[in-house]
Amino acid sequence: MKIMIVDDSRAMRMIVRRTLRNAGYEQHPIVEASNGREALQLIRETSPDLVLADWNMPEMSGIELITTLRSEGNPVKFGFITTEGSQERTAMALGEGALFLIAKPFTVEDFKLKMGGLLG
């Protein structure tokens, strides 16, 4: 399963990679994008199986990314890894078709809990 990490922070993309590895998902290939617009292009070109996106990014936010994808009929599995994990924000994410929202700071257990069923 190909995973795309979308975050404007290189450090956070590195931490997400490390957490995926520590959660036991190291066998999955990973591609990265630094904002929603770059991710949109890469998703069209590389068809990842799961997108893990930050919410608050320059150029195009995570919520704009999933809204655009769904408007194009793209059903790619999508999860948010973001700073704000309020009920309202989670409801908004799920309402747009995301499968889960993981709030930063997160743990390996958070990843296993939210992604175990997807990544095995």
Partner: protein, 152 residues
């Protein structure tokens, strides 16, 4: 919560973030309002606006040595491979997560987190503000964190 978080709460929020994300905890060492000094050691500073009815700014700073250790820890790379871009990126992500925690602690704050901004200096705020200086004893990393009652 309609008050700005106390220095102790700021310290708890920051340490919770760093401990969870990369296993580095911090203790509150100073509740004073002293700003990071302008003279050496060089301080790296990042601010993040929380916009809305009550404009706020969350700021963090760390001296060069501390910022390099933070970046090396977050990037999982040797300290001598850390460059200025990595330091700015690491501190920007830290202030982003810390601002989210501050907003969560101020439970009635229905406002929007902005994007982090690297700045050369932070002027002494005219309005209300709270600050804390935190230390990690093992690595001697110092983080200064503040929440300021206005947009910077």
């Amino acid at each position: 919560m309609t008050e700005l978080p106390s220095p102790q709460l700021l310290a708890t929020l920051v340490s919770g973030v760093t401990d969870t994300m990369f296993g580095m905890s911090f203790n509150l060492s100073d509740e004073g309002k002293e700003l990071p000094r302008e003279e050496p050691p060089v301080w790296h500073r990042v601010v993040l606006p929380i916009s809305g009815q009550w404009p706020l700014t969350v700021a963090i700073a760390s001296d060069s040595q501390g910022a390099n250790v933070l970046a090396h820890t977050m990037f999982s790379c040797p300290v001598d491979e850390v460059d200025g871009g990595m330091v700015n990126d690491a501190l920007s992500e830290l202030v982003n997560i810390i601002a989210g925690q501050v907003k969560g602690a101020m439970s009635d704050l229905q406002q929007t987190l902005g994007l982090p901004l690297v700045v050369d200096s932070i002027a002494a705020p005219a309005g209300k503000w709270r600050a804390a200086t935190l230390k990690n004893d093992a690595s001697h990393v110092v983080i200064w964190v503040a929440i300021i009652d206005r947009a910077v």
